[in-house]
Symmetry: D2
């Protein structure tokens, strides 16, 4: 065990609705949970704008991070005493599990798009920089923060440990599938984790699954597949995401134009400059972001005001499929027609692709940095899952990209310029989907 760890005098538990209890017996872990950087995760929702689609999904990354820690703790329990498993690595695994999302900010996806930030980079800064997290980690040794960062970044030489937290069947995914299913209330996302934990085996460079557990893993993959279509790629969520991104875009554009804000975006200054300090990054949590969106409902700028009101009051964009049947001239024509209506297509006619999302279903061989799932056959050889399972093969071959065109349907319903509106409707007509639920 790393120098410097102490067991707590008595195990502490958190009540958790997904795993029932989260057990902490190491002082290191307890103290990491108490740092202000970790407590900040209480102010960053796990699923961003999804709460506008599934009202139950109001849970935060704090919630999820404890869950990943707990699953890691159980995996380690299963590995204890088995070949290839070095018990001394336990705290490293647990710390990496707990902290793997520490760099996330509010609505990461949109912020990263507009401001070119990268939450993985910030995870690194928080672990290695001048933070309470770093101070606690260094008690395990000067090198310990670096090791934790390396495991999270998947550059750590111990590939087994890396695969426990980042692979196609890791503690992270097993927690979020179950947790997101629990809070959204959907029927998918359930699988027999207890069974999967029982058939996980450490090997030299990755976690593998005993072949007798194949059906449990199939079920897990199927859950992933269903969750992606039913929850993660939900078009209403993406509509809210589109609006959010355009709010940030508008603020950035207004800043460039030196627009005189009534409620100036102080917390965004260093984001505009592209020179964000650690303190600035940590200061901008979801409460602060929401504060600005609330305030900007009262700005003079019509676009910013409108987009913020839409976001706060859930008046989202509708969409049509933007697929191969859409012709380029239709697309250009639409932009012109919107402009004719006085509606700026740069903010109000937005193509969104599901492939932009940080989720995927199982695709062996396509992601360079995630090891695929290997089955440990009775003859001790390894077989990649989709070669054994027809169902997984079918899913892994499925297209996961779709493109949708989002727009505010209200502009078509108001009176005036009927002819232009009719032309827009004609183009959108056959492709019409619905955002309402």
């Amino acid at each position: 065990m790393p120098v410097g760890n102490k067991k707590l005098p008595e195990e502490k538990v958190f009540k958790d609705p997904v795993h029932r209890y989260i057990h902490i017996s190491d002082e290191l872990i307890w103290d990491l949970v108490g740092t202000k950087e970790f407590q900040r995760l209480r102010r960053v929702r796990q699923l961003g704008t999804t709460f506008l689609t599934f009202h139950g999904a109001e849970h935060t990354r704090f919630n999820h991070s404890l869950g990943v820690y707990e699953i890691m703790r159980r995996i380690i329990e299963v590995f204890e005493g088995r070949p290839h498993w070095n018990g001394n690595e336990g705290l490293l695994c647990l710390s990496a599990a707990l902290l793997h999302d520490i760099g996330h900010g509010p609505f990461s996806h949109s912020f990263e798009k507009v401001f070119n930030t990268d939450h993985e980079e910030w995870t690194r800064h928080i672990i290695l920089g001048d933070t309470e997290v770093n101070t606690v980690l260094r008690r395990m040794g000067e090198d310990f923060p670096q090791q934790v960062a390396d495991v999270i970044e998947k550059t750590h030489p111990n590939k087994l440990i890396v695969s426990m937290i980042s692979s196609q069947i890791d503690a992270d995914r097993m927690d979020y599938l179950q947790r997101d299913a629990f809070y959204t209330g959907v029927s998918y996302g359930h699988f027999d984790m207890e069974r999967i934990l029982r058939v996980m085996r450490p090997t030299e460079d990755q976690v593998v699954i005993k072949a007798t557990g194949m059906h449990a893993v199939e079920d897990y993959i199927m859950s992933r597949y269903q969750m992606y279509w039913q929850v993660y790629f939900h078009p209403v969520t993406r509509s809210a995401e589109v609006i959010l991104t355009k709010i940030l875009q508008r603020v950035k554009d207004l800043k460039n134009e030196e627009y005189p804000f009534k409620y100036p975006p102080h917390h965004f200054e260093s984001f505009f400059r592209g020179a964000i300090t650690l303190e600035d990054y940590l200061d901008l949590d979801e409460s602060v972001a929401m504060y600005y969106f609330l305030m900007w409902q009262k700005e003079e700028d019509a676009i910013l005001q409108d987009l913020c009101r839409r976001f706060m009051n859930r008046r989202l964009f509708k969409y049509v499929e933007f697929d191969q049947h859409f012709m380029m001239n239709e697309w250009l024509r639409l932009q012109q027609l919107f402009a004719d209506l006085g509606v700026d297509p740069a903010y109000y006619l937005v193509v969104d692709s599901s492939s932009d999302l940080p989720y995927d279903f199982y695709r062996p061989g396509e992601e360079e940095d995630r090891v695929p799932i290997h089955l440990l056959m009775p003859d001790r050889r390894l077989r990649e899952l989709s070669r054994e399972s027809d169902v997984v093969e079918a899913i892994s071959g499925k297209k996961r990209t779709d493109h949708k065109l989002y727009y505010p349907s209200e502009v078509l319903e108001e009176p005036g310029q009927e002819d232009t509106k009719q032309q827009i409707k004609d183009i959108l007509h056959l492709k019409l989907g619905k955002v309402e639920r």
Copy 2:
């Protein structure tokens, strides 16, 4: 049915993790959900500071309000066609159920204490004032908003309807017990609501329960009892509440002293003046409150800074039982000793009583405005529940008040002034409880 209601062309559903689905078929209800005042409930947590004790409890009043609506919908389904039930009142009941908490602000309990606001009064203002909610309601008739407000305020002449939303076994409580149990993850809070709905019967002036359902109601009362002790009166939650109240108190005091805020409390101005406008009230949601608490971590004032840091980073007060064994001279002495340490007892030595909390278990005859539960006996007479059920009688006689003294234990651990600290410890010694979980 009130004039002006239309059925939606197709029923809409929300996925809900507690009731599985929430069904909306009335345009009125759908439009109320879409108002900005109702959407604002997404920014007010249902259980205030409880998320600091049970990390799962991050759900909002939006979530709960939909749940109360859904239970009301099911009660109405059961009542349909029975004597004493007037089908035309359905929309009134549903609207009141949906809107019963619309006046809640962030951390209502603390705000009400410090600023003498009253969320019930604000509910009335929002329903009757110049709001989107009012506009939508008026489509049912000029008088409709007033009727909805009267039902919520329990002044409506139809006592049956009032009892459906405010009694000892109403749609409100049945939702929050189940919902809070679900999100906290505790094992209590479950009861057989489907059975209770089946045995509810309308009478002229209240909902009663068929005597055959007594055991299901006993179970519900027992759930309430357990939830109050395990969740609602949890000492860690109350510790956070104490700190929050003291933050507001400090801000108010600083304002009176004309302290030069770095981050002036603009949103609190009309609260200080005691002349809050509807717009101001609606503007101050939980994101905004949190924004200020975050900012004030950087104020010069040591007390405000410290209290805000404690709240944001969950560095809570510890407590001792403050009961009849505590002598007045000990109490005065403690205040003096804290002052000697330079710690202002007005902010750092706080007595909190569970009887202040807006929860109770079943106490027939004590609350003037909530009808107790009556059983409908086979001979058609009514019997108050605690006269039939020994278990309920036992619970309803239980003391529900306890008093705790909260204080920052850290001041006793730092070096210096050992003698004073020892004297404090001596007084607190035998009464020591623990806040950590």
Copy 3:
């Protein structure tokens, strides 16, 4: 509504662990449940020998039949008032749902194999013959029993009704998947039935599914697939089934040889003669069958005694895969070697194929009598499910047949005739599986 039905004065409910409550408001249904033929289903287990693999699976066909009735009741609720749905057919549907398995005897699969009985034929006899069931049904009209029988036999002219109880997504399957999952305790078998019910639509000749519900149906198909492999085709269950079949075979053979039974198979007499009366058929329930198996443990005949002891005390056969790698000469040689050991291969060397089982996963176009699942597309056209869903297509193309060779491993472990045993082991060697769990 058919002449002769009366509503019960008050709805009756059964508590059901799968559907929570089963609601009965028709006197007809209540009286059918009370017939002795229906009560007899309490003495026929739903899953035959599966309880020897999953000890929880002790539930009976009584249990399942009520569940199918309840799902049918809910489907009818959804259909009420829709085009193509004739409310007068409700009772016919409910009766057919309740009685669809009334002809099942104990361990139907084995009995049908050995005695050429057919539970569907007996269902017809019980509905149309001189039974309490028939008497109750005739109250609805002379023709009513025939109509119920026709719906169950899928020959009724109303194809919509037939598809409600016998199609690829009918009340029967939706109940047994959930019920069998519940009682076995496996994690599979769950799907969002409430959602599926909401998207079911009646058409002229079948139930179809609104395209928006495709993912819920995919999930249902995936559950079926998992249940078949994990539960219905479980090799331990099949091993018990093999032994049971051989017990019946042995009794039949002994009867033909005029073996002097200590415990003569009175209840089997008409089965031997192939001239079973309705009374005889109804008399032979699972208690009676078990009584004989218990008694025959004390018969002189070594084979019958041994097989019965194996079945009662769960000393099952082991198995090897009997696949294309098995050569005919190995097979013949094995039979000879078993005979050399004095072990009759006719009873102790048994090939069992999963394709014999009355379960399948989804295979559109292959079963002449079950309509495949059709999606109702937004343009009102119908599309067969596997053409829309890659996952379903993948599953429906999967092989579902496997063959296993069952044998008593104990004979290889006793001392003596080592050489013969070694030869047997050599043949079985590479194909060895295990029956123990």
Copy 4:
């Protein structure tokens, strides 16, 4: 660890719907499960006639016995390494847990009443006699079977171990409450077992509960209370039990009268003689009992025939409360009136008392042989639960006895002897309850 135990090469698991998995790693336990005496428990239902009230309750004592074993295994895990706990006693505890009900026969309650058998005595005989169970146990040492029997009989000197399996909060009760709730489908019976296990502590002579777990134990007691009234004392179940007892009584009486049975009660012979051998006892399982009840539906004796038909086809007796308002002369008069109708009151007018049932709720001090629940207070003293908990005190003071008079209501509905029937009705009139559900 006792000499002679071996760990299995690999842990075996059973899928269990209540505890998810049952884990077996000792060869001893595995072999005990495989004995024919333990397998026989598959043919004895856990809840006797309850399946006639709650159709889901078809589970057997096999099912429950595995569950008690599993809970014991988890208790031992918690105790490992704590003071007062001797790890060597583990297998003794596990064996006693697994075998504690091995002496149960079919419908034990009725058989014990009529034939004066005692399942606890038979448990002893099976463990100590010439059985497979005894053979397996003796591998742990000659004395081991005796020790197991002593633990089950509560005479073992190690009172801690005895209390783990027989006290007011033992492995037996914790399993059956949860299991019976699961299979009946009622909402009661749930409590936070994981929490209770975490707060259980071994002391010198009993298991105690840390005071911090008091609310979880209150909830457990409340579950017991609800289960007793809702399930175990259910009047329909007792009606079936009454009929069953009267069947056995009638057979015994006919035997004494040398009635010429068409289907002679061979399996009951030694029960009549009061000299039951171990073999006879083990041979009479529930399949055999049911076989006879089925056959006796065809006996000439009108009473036996009628009672058996009632039992098999669920045509149960109705009841009235037989309480202090019932006067002795009414009671005698009723018997006479039944006799006048030709209905033998000895079989058809039966008083049943709930206090006869082998269940109770918590009553400290009343059962000499079950230790009450003690809380371990922070100051290390022990306090009996009902002195700390008002709710438990309320429940433990509740009357648990009620008396009901069961009778066949059909005899009052047939035409003829109207006057006599009217007199009966007059007596029963005001006391009328209903058996139907």
